[in-house]
Symmetry: none
Subunit: 498 residues, 2 copies
């Protein structure tokens, strides 16, 4: 077998994984947006079967051999060539999948499925003790997982690396430090803005507004859908098939509209990936942090930007005439309302990061056995008070609010704050090259998409996250641009106070 032949086999193998992913992705999207409830147990069987097929193929023993042969090829000498990128990531993924004992994988899948169901009940009934034994097992299995994967300093690093390749606890603390220090001070003096809502906001009218924004953002109606669901998400089934979801409230348009902006940001990234490399690492997104930087970019840096609303507010008023007598200045309060609150997914763009720091601290302590599951609710409430200055009235609105831990996902939360940090760094750099606010005022968003596409989306997994940020911004990753943005935003909002 020549190196090229081995490479072609790998490419074929990767394509089959992509097809199975596409089918699985559609089964999940459908389950969360369309499926009749009575299908639930049968759909579970179908999805479990495809998950098994994916696992079986990922770990095919021939893959190791192909990787060895292919990596001797001249075509992989340039580390930026698609072949080199693909071989690097295929090797990493294959070696990683070999580290997990098969019985352990099955047991974790079983535990996570059960734990999520128990978590749902525990949250609904505000009963942490019900969930605690499952969480204990999940933490224990995450520690085992870190052991399988290996690490230098900290077992948490092994987990973090699954979501944000190359990231470590040490580096994360370094990046987060200035924010963790300044934000609690900043939020004590947030401008006291009052939201001026004029419900009802009929769902169809909200959809109409969102679709008009999407059109300006460059989305072709023949390449996406917008549907409603309980927990909003975005998924790309294949190139040309972007599935955005949101949930609407007729009382408060911000939930549906900014949810739709956020998920559309994820969609922008996947839309900009090179379709000719679909199904290979060269055509895939690099990390959860970089992905989140794009959802945050389009949701906040674009979608909450005063210049954005200078252009779009007249359309908004046309669709929602109850806003005709609300001046733009007052409306900007409404879409930029900032105040410490209990629920992460409803938090504003400033306080949001504190919700993440809390989770990062606590899950890091759990994995390092510095805190026990039994002590978790108390620790949560105490740290929450210290960071955000408010009392947590129930575990339901506290430690039980998020689904992630019930899946056994530890190391995932920090990528949300990294997304804010990366996004602000990209935006600061963009401002040095274009004048985005000038463009937004004229309703021109395509130059910004093109800039992001060229600098970020088009590269797939070519560069590691920090390397990518360095390349795009010319500087190492730092929270400084985010802090700068926050200070500026708050100063601007202060000028709107009447």
């Amino acid at each position: 077998m020549t190196p090229r032949e081995a490479y072609d086999r790998l490419a074929g193998w990767a394509k089959e994984l992509a097809y199975l992913h596409a089918a699985t992705g559609l089964l999940y999207w459908d389950m969360r947006t369309q499926m009749p409830r009575k299908a639930t147990p049968y759909r579970g069987e179908v999805v479990a079967f495809l998950a098994g097929e994916l696992h079986r193929r990922r770990t095919r023993p021939e893959v190791g051999e192909w990787l060895e042969i292919a990596s001797t090829g001249d075509f992989a000498r340039d580390p930026l060539s698609p072949e080199a990128v693909n071989l690097r990531w295929w090797k990493l993924g294959f070696e990683r999948s070999q580290k997990y004992p098969e019985t352990w994988v099955k047991e974790r899948a079983r535990l996570a499925t059960e734990a999520e169901k128990v978590w749902e009940v525990a949250r609904r009934e505000d009963d942490f003790d019900l969930f605690a034994p499952y969480l204990e097992q999940l933490v224990e299995m995450a520690r085992e997982e870190a052991g399988f994967l290996g690490y230098d300093e900290d077992p948490y690093d092994a987990l973090l690396d699954l979501y944000e390749p190359g990231m470590t606890t040490r580096r994360l603390r370094e990046i987060f430090a200035p924010l963790a220090e300044e934000l609690p001070r900043i939020i004590q003096s947030l401008p006291a803005l009052t939201a001026d809502l004029r419900p009802p906001y009929p769902v169809e009218a909200q959809r109409e507004f969102i679709l008009q924004v999407y059109a300006h953002w460059g989305f072709d109606p023949e390449e996406f859908r917008l549907d409603t669901t309980v927990h909003p998400f975005f998924t790309r089934i294949t190139p040309g098939d972007l599935r955005i979801t949101t949930r609407f409230s007729e009382q408060d348009f911000r939930q549906g509209v900014f949810g739709a902006f956020h998920e559309a940001g994820h969609a922008q990234y996947d839309r900009g990936l090179p379709a000719e490399h679909w199904g290979t690492p060269r055509g895939a997104s690099i990390s959860l942090g970089i992905h989140e930087s794009q959802s945050r970019f389009w949701e906040n840096l674009v979608g909450r930007n005063p210049a954005f609303w200078e252009f779009f507010y007249p359309l908004f008023q046309k669709i929602f005439p109850q806003h005709n007598d609300v001046p733009l200045e007052v409306f900007l309060h409404t879409v930029n309302e900032m105040r410490p609150s209990l629920i992460r997914v409803e938090a504003d763009e400033v306080t949001y990061n504190l919700h993440i720091f809390l989770r990062f601290e606590l899950e890091h302590a759990l994995i390092n056995q510095q805190i026990s599951v039994r002590d978790l609710p108390g620790a949560w409430n105490e740290r929450f008070r210290a960071l955000l200055g408010i009392e947590v009235p129930s575990n339901r609105e506290g430690v039980l609010q998020d689904v992630h831990w019930s899946h056994g996902s530890f190391g995932y939360f920090p990528t949300y704050a990294l997304g804010n940090i990366y996004g602000a760094a990209f935006f600061a750099r963009l401002r040095e090259e274009l004048q985005p606010e000038e463009l937004f005022r004229r309703g021109e968003f395509l130059p910004v998409y093109e800039w992001l596409q060229e600098n970020i989306y088009a590269w797939g997994k070519t560069f590691m996250p920090e390397e990518l940020v360095q390349r795009v911004t010319g500087k190492p990753v730092s929270a400084e641009p985010l802090l700068q943005y926050v200070r500026e935003k708050i100063a601007f909002l202060e000028t709107l106070r009447t």
Copy 2:
């Protein structure tokens, strides 16, 4: 390996095929109701991959061995036992699947996906030449398929048997003969009823009426969906997941409502199949003809029945108050309008069969190379005039109107007329046991569903189609009950003339 062990392996194998079928079914449903158009080529790849997987598994060499061992088991001695039924059909399917080359299967799947999209454009733009080269390839592949499958007299028989097991061209002509003879005479003296339509019929209101009818027919809102599409169809993804589609016209409620009744008839059959046998022949429908007998049953024998409307017309008038001053007798004209028309799916229950005879003749001639694709539009228009007495003004309303050939499905159309014939035979028998019209007048439809479930649906593939009809009605298949029904219906409609 004991016979029981071999049987269990077969059951596991069949379950995996069922999972792949479910995923494929969803990919197709989604493609026709939800998918953004730009995804088309990629979706084609995913579907082709799964078709290849299905084929690869269907033809696994161990299956032949398992079948041999399992068939020696005592448990399969009773030919009506689930095990015997399953072994019979697995054997047939396995032997059949061995006959197809894998590359051919993939190529046909790819061609059909592409051809359907081209057909959509060709129909929209009334451009037969655009579709012709695809149709030529599809006919050629169908001839190859007949060759793979084998046949005694006629290559068309091999294709027919795929949809209606046991049926042949010879037997079909025998069954159709009395209808083909009498119908052209009957339609020359159809009662001149005038439809009294009062548009507009808003789509949402039509949906509301349909959903109320469905509730009376026993459908649970948590087990089905109703969506819109270009060419209505029904598919069951898994048990508890019935996907009905229709298309609406605000000008004429009959298109959406009777389309939805028709597809719901298909859904009744699948809903009534034994879920515990899902994924095995014992839990699957026996033939397209029997399936169509159920769609026709619920659309026409129930849904166009004067007794049905005695119950539902007040609700219809409430939802469409423009009908308040239209008496039931006049409304019964509207829902039973009979006159030769151009489009099969909009044809009345009497002339419908002539649309089928036309297609049967032409596709039989295509497969036997008695006519070329280039000559098809001319032949269509000529035979149409002869059978139905009207001129076809465009290919869009003629030879391009149906999707079937674009899928490469030849031998499928006759099952529609068989459905009418079987359905009328079942209804005639039902009348000897229950008084369906009495029930309908009171809004009671469940006893009829239960009768059909017990006598037809619950049996899965236990009996061959003609055997099943014989068992249920006590007589061999014959067009006589349908002719009788048609005569009776026309006589009744004559009494409504004022």
